[in-house]
């Protein structure tokens, strides 16, 4: 249950941050853009992510205690930023539904939410890279989190705003391809580099990963297929079949990143006595 809730939490929040980031960029490029569906889905993903993080706790009813140590605890800071991000996006979604004429306020909330969300992802990376889990203590953790947010956010934003975001289709496709390329270029060499490490904790993490190698294969196959599909559809004009291809690309990228994140958590081996 622990790995599943953490996976749902981090994937949902990162996908939500990614969507909000591209809504903010699109609103800056096209001030008339509304992007209602994308905003509502980003809010929904944020809420699901927050709920998953609460149910990960042994004592969910005491979850707000986690806000007490902002000054010293990275986890407390991350929870603050996640809560603020989700609150901003939910507020923007509520204004959309109740007073959609307040475009300026919605744009302001989305832009601030995107900035808060980007800091939040950095804090997520810092939480894990500072833990006593050598497998996580590399820059690949940050790259994986940011590139997952960008690739999932871009394809979900494109799917949810196909008409309005048509002018950004090629930019989004190139962004997805670049994000996936960076993710592969950093994560795969990092795995190879870790395989020659003398750390017993890292070797134990790699043994866990090798026992789940089929899942790892599907992770990269899905991510690659999703990115290739995103680039493929960007060259064609809108049509129902193209919409289905964008949906397929989104599903592939989401499933691939989710498998990857599950493996990330499954590979957790903390150092200890005799395991350094």
């Amino acid at each position: 249950m622990g790995n599943a809730t953490l996976t749902i939490f981090s994937i949902c929040i990162q996908a939500s941050v990614g969507i909000v980031l591209f809504i903010a960029i699109a609103k800056l490029l096209n001030k008339e853009g509304i992007f209602k569906n994308a905003t509502l889905v980003a809010a929904g993903l944020g809420i699901i992510g927050m709920l998953a993080s609460v149910f990960h706790l042994g004592q969910p009813m005491k979850a707000f205690f986690a806000l007490y140590q902002f000054s010293s605890s990275l986890l407390s800071r991350e929870i603050w930023f996640t809560a603020i991000f989700v609150a901003l996006v939910v507020l923007a979604a509520l204004i959309f539904m109740l007073k959609p004429e307040n475009k300026g306020i919605i744009t302001g909330l989305i832009v601030v939410a995107a900035l808060v969300g980007l800091i939040d992802i950095g804090l997520m990376g810092a939480i894990y890279s500072n833990a006593s889990v050598p497998f996580w203590q590399t820059s690949a953790t940050f790259v994986e989190f940011y590139m997952a947010a960008i690739s999932m956010g871009a394809i979900l934003f494109l799917f949810l705003s196909l008409q309005e975001a048509n002018f950004m289709k090629k930019i989004l496709a190139v962004t997805i391809a670049a994000a996936v390329a960076i993710q592969i270029a950093v994560v795969i060499p990092n795995l190879i580099n870790l395989s020659i490490s003398s750390s017993m904790a890292i070797q134990s993490s790699l043994v866990i990963l090798s026992s789940m190698s089929l899942a790892g294969l599907f992770e990269w196959l899905f991510i690659l297929a999703g990115a290739i599909l995103a680039v493929w559809v960007a060259k064609d004009e809108l049509s129902p079949s193209i919409n289905n291809l964008v949906l397929s690309s989104a599903v592939l990228l989401l499933v691939g990143q989710t498998i990857g994140r599950y493996l990330f958590y499954a590979a957790m081996v903390v150092t200890g006595i005799g395991i350094s």
């Binding site: 042994g58 205690f65 986690a66 140590q69 407390s76 006595i273 350094s276």
Partner: protein, 192 residues
Amino acid sequence: MGALGFYFDMQACIGCRTCQIACKDKNNLPIGVLFREIKKFETGVFPKSNSYNISYSCNHCEEAKCVKGCPTGAMHYGADGTVQHDPDLCIGCQYCIMNCPYSVPQLLPERNIIGKCDSCIDLRNAGQNPACVDACLMRCLHFGDLDELRKEYGEELVNALPILPSPDITKPSLLISPKTCALESSFTELEV
């Protein structure tokens, strides 16, 4: 006055696990949860092999990552500088489990919160020793001011061994009188 912590005489330890059981009994721990544990390691190759035991629990580190990382303040420094845990503040996020380089904090499955060695602060406040110290047959465990313990047991004590994470990470309040073989970099853990 120096930090408070445990002294462990590895040279005298016979690995009987009485400290482990005394701790488990004192803290009424469920199956699978240990606040103090004995591990046995082997170095060298037969016929020139050696073995040693280590009895370990919370090291009440001066720069404890569990305290720094805890989002609620449940992990905190007590008035005497030892690392204490407030179960009422603990939300069971398990970040201390990920953070402690010694893998000390444990999830108490029946309560869904964390638990760890509190150096038997209740006994110490009553002028007694921690349960593990008094239970040790070979008198290998002591708890007290590390400066005083160093004076009493010699300057050759260490808090760094190849089997331990680097003391630079958290500055553990721990002194060990090591067997020579425990200083060898190549070791194998023995399941007993």
